[in-house]
């Protein structure tokens, strides 16, 4: 048994659990803030059910955008391009692409939610949905960009592979911001 265990190396299940479970506990604690924000907004969600439809995307999409950028940045660092020069055109291309993706996806989300609204009966107009989705979404994209840069840079400085810890932490922290911003913007727009 001991021999087969050692030949498995990093694939041994006890070892995977031991390495990962503590990180999962920390991440759950972080995302719990998003959960409390959501439960606190229960009245708002009961009044405007369509907002609940948008919640999973608002929570997940910032993390997705951050993950795309972090993966590209960490590849850059692995390839030896470790300078973050504000005149670097390649960096700006990455940032502008993320912002363009965010604008597209969050516009599509508002339109999708508007169509779903016909089926579940909603009083929210397309203009209101676009405003809420784009203001929250673009703010979130900026936060995702800032955190991705900071995390990739810090983990490179500390010699940690970003894939192991940095990306999960960044995506979960950005999830929390997504929820707080979305509920905050919705509350302001709808006067709650």
């Amino acid at each position: 048994m001991a021999r087969s265990g050692s030949s498995l190396g990093s694939w041994q299940w006890q070892r995977i659990v031991r390495n990962m479970f503590p990180l999962l506990v920390v991440l759950s604690g972080i995302v719990l803030i998003a959960g409390i924000t959501l439960e606190d907004a229960e009245e708002l969600l009961n009044e405007y059910g369509l907002l609940a439809v948008m919640v999973p995307t608002m929570v997940g999409m910032g993390g997705n955008l951050g993950a795309i950028l972090s993966a590209r940045l960490s590849t850059r660092f692995h390839l030896g391009m470790t300078e973050l020069d504000p005149r670097d055109r390649d960096l700006w291309a990455n940032i502008l692409a993320i912002l363009a993706l965010a604008a597209t996806v969050f516009t599509a989300q508002a339109v999708g939610a508007y169509i779903i609204g016909f089926f579940i009966g909603s009083s929210l107009g397309l203009g209101t949905l676009l405003f809420i989705s784009l203001v929250s979404g673009m703010s979130l994209a900026v936060i995702a960009i800032v955190f991705s840069f900071a995390a990739t840079y810090v983990s490179y400085q500390l010699g940690i592979d970003p894939d192991d810890t940095t990306i999960p932490i960044v995506t979960n922290v950005v999830d929390v911001f997504g929820m707080i911003i979305f509920i905050g913007v919705s509350g302001l727009v709808l006067g709650f």
Binding site: W13, A108, D175
Partner: protein
Amino acid sequence: MSVREDIWKIYRESLPILFVALGGGLFSGIVLEGLTDSVERFPGLLVMVPVFLATRGNVYGALGGRISTGLHQGLIDPEFEYDERLVNAVIASLVNGIGISIFIGFLTWLVLSVLPGWEAAQLVELVGIMFFAGFLTSFLMIVGLLGIIFAGFNYGYDPDNLVGPIVTTLGDIFGMLFMILSVWLVGVLL
């Protein structure tokens, strides 16, 4: 390449994946809208939703990443057959996925009981909902994730590009569906 061409390339490569995630997110949002009616009965239910969905991504994103690296390195074969590495990776994801779900139920109950002005459902109710939801989602995620990664790999797709969108979409949709099922189940049983 000009900056404009660079932007267009990144945009074009990433947009389909994000649209898949958007579709999954909106569908699970419809399920969540149905779940908000049960909050009166189980206070703390909405607290667990984002945490539960996030851990699906964390646990099965890690499993997918590991399998995809294993396939690239030739350490595992893209088939459903007994393989010690594959079995260990799957057991680890089951222990992590179900274990952290139980922990989420406990943590939610603890935090809401301590915070002034908040109320929580009974510990056994919150943990029960998370246990059933975590248990059912884990089995479906493992079979779905491995099936799609193996099929994709055999057809010549890079599994690295498949893992993210599969995990997000399957996790969102089935995480919410199994959560609503678990709420019903716990309501009937307890």
